[in-house]
Amino acid sequence: MSLRFQRLLFILLTLVIILSAVLLILYNTRENVSYFYTPSEIDKSDIIINKIIRIGGFVENNSFNKISSSSFKFKITDEKASILVTFKGILPDLFREGQGAVIEGAFVDKNIFNATNVFAKHDENYMPASIKEDLKDTGYWNKKYK
């Protein structure tokens, strides 16, 4: 093939690659991005079933229910509204009532959200209140300061 033709082919190939990449990105930025809401931001009338979203808040006290070793029910709240969540699987280690959490999943009906992923937050702003006997035992508090 002549030099000119080869160069043309090359430029054409490059353009095709760039174009397909751009299309791929545009498509995915619409489809594969999940929106984040707080419980009070979820308008009951606007719920789209089976659309993947994320909800963040904290686990409502006294709402956690262990149905089996791998099936759980709890509520996510932001003190203004709460959402009932079901989850099958293994909960993250830091997950507990009163602790922050972000869940990803979709509504299966207007009232129940089925989470496929649960992320728990480590609360670094407040040190745990009861560091009781353990610290006392190790003698940290026995030394005289002066």
């Binding site: 030099l3 984040f36 707080t38 963040g56 009163g98």
Partner: protein
Amino acid sequence: MAWSDNNDLFWFNSSYKKMNRIIILTPLIILLIICFFSLTYLLSGKDPNKPPSALLNKNVPSFESTSLYDTKEIIRTTDIKNRKTLINFFASWCSPCKIEHPLFFEIGKKYPELYLLGFNHKDPTSDAKKYLEDDGNPYDFVGVDADGLIALEFGVFGLPETYLINEEGKIIFKFMGPITKDVLKNEIEPLL
């Protein structure tokens, strides 16, 4: 190997130059866009760690403490319900405590409805009394925490430490170390 000698060589060269300029400017333009958005985001003070409206509050731990001045007077957690309380852990032997001490007078004067509760931590009562006599007592109540158990309940790691409790009995602020004017202005006062 050069391009074939043709008329399109000229056309290609000039549009090549224009394209060249555009291509070289692109990274700078992208840079400006990124910096603009990042700066806006930072300055708006949004915190990605907190979903926009959730605030995590913890209940103040339950405590019971005798007054430094009157062993018959006792203060309990229930006593500070329904009023905003500033709790400060201090001791006569704690030098940084002396630094923040004058600020509590200011706070007391500026916010008379705020209840100032001081816990005297692992301190002989005579030393504590002398310290408060010499430097003044800004607290509404001074509770004794002789064995440090109250501090343990709060999770205190060292002195001084200060907590702000709201009317519902939830801890809305905690600070380790001596309070400064900045901390007072920027972090405590907005909550009062």
